[in-house]
Amino acid sequence: MSLLHRDDAEKPPPAESRNGRLALADLYDRCAGELYRYALMILADPAGAEDAVHQAFYKLLRSGQNTPELREDQAYLRVAVRNECYSMLRRGQRRTADSLSRLLEPHSGQQEDADEREAIESALRVLPADQREVVHLKVFEGLTFREISGRIGVPLNTAASRYRYALERLRGLLNRDRSVYP
């Protein structure tokens, strides 16, 4: 079970609008948090992540793909958000990384170590988008490499090596920070 889905799974079944389709508000409340976090980790840009999520919902509405099946909508939105993020990166639309914008937050009820969080955020910003994406899917969404490879459409070995490169890079960056600020 994904860490991010835990809260959503406890919610009651979604209400349906008069024409049988999922009400957008319900769909948003169930999916937007996860989608935004996914986009945020790919782009490392909060404003860009909001744009990507907005675009994905907009495309869902305009495409008429909105179905009563929550799972289908989630899958559609996830693909749409990912496509939008990489399109933005290709077009160079991502805003200059703002070192003050927060990428991470502690889990509810956990004490925050601001210095550690900022160090991890800075290290994550240095990673390429595709490596940050794999870190997100593995660490924050708790997917297996097989699930990740299916989700992002790369061979299993590629997903695993991408994750390993990301962790090596993160470890190097965090160790360097630790030596500078012991």
Binding site: L3, Y58, R102, I120
Partner: protein, 129 residues
């Protein structure tokens, strides 16, 4: 990957998993839901543009038909007015020169008067609009 790497990666994963990516702002919800407001669902502007285009095409067709009708009326009048009697009159007035020009002028004036009378009968005078 060595055992040390595994250990270090496990520690790093532990550090990372103490956090999660930050959530969206509340403004995003309003922004997304604005797309399904009744105004957004009914693209009135698009239909207005289509209706305006249809009206424009109908108007242009009507105007073209009117112009065509008037042109035909004028042509018909020219054929009707320049009769053998008119030719004879032109000859009587001064043969091929001044008499023919005078008659042509008279016929033109007559034709214009006839056209304005026929269009007034068809559409009414501007004051009637």
């Amino acid at each position: 990957m060595s055992a040390n790497d595994d250990l270090a990666f496990a520690e790093l994963e532990g550090r990372l998993s103490k956090y999660r990516p930050a959530g969206p702002s509340k403004a995003l919800r309003a922004r997304v839901l604005a797309d399904v407001s009744p105004r957004a669902q009914r693209p009135i502007g698009k239909w207005l543009a289509v209706a305006a285009l249809i009206l424009l095409v109908i108007g242009l067709q009507w105007h073209t038909q009117q112009m065509d009708r008037e042109t035909r009326a004028i042509l018909d009048a020219r054929e009707t007015l320049w009769t053998p009697e008119a030719e004879e009159l032109a000859q009587e007035l001064d043969g091929d020169g001044a008499g023919r020009r005078y008659l042509a002028f008279a016929l033109l004036a007559d034709r214009q008067r006839w056209a304005s009378q026929s269009s007034a009968a068809m559409f009414g005078s501007p004051g009637d609009w």
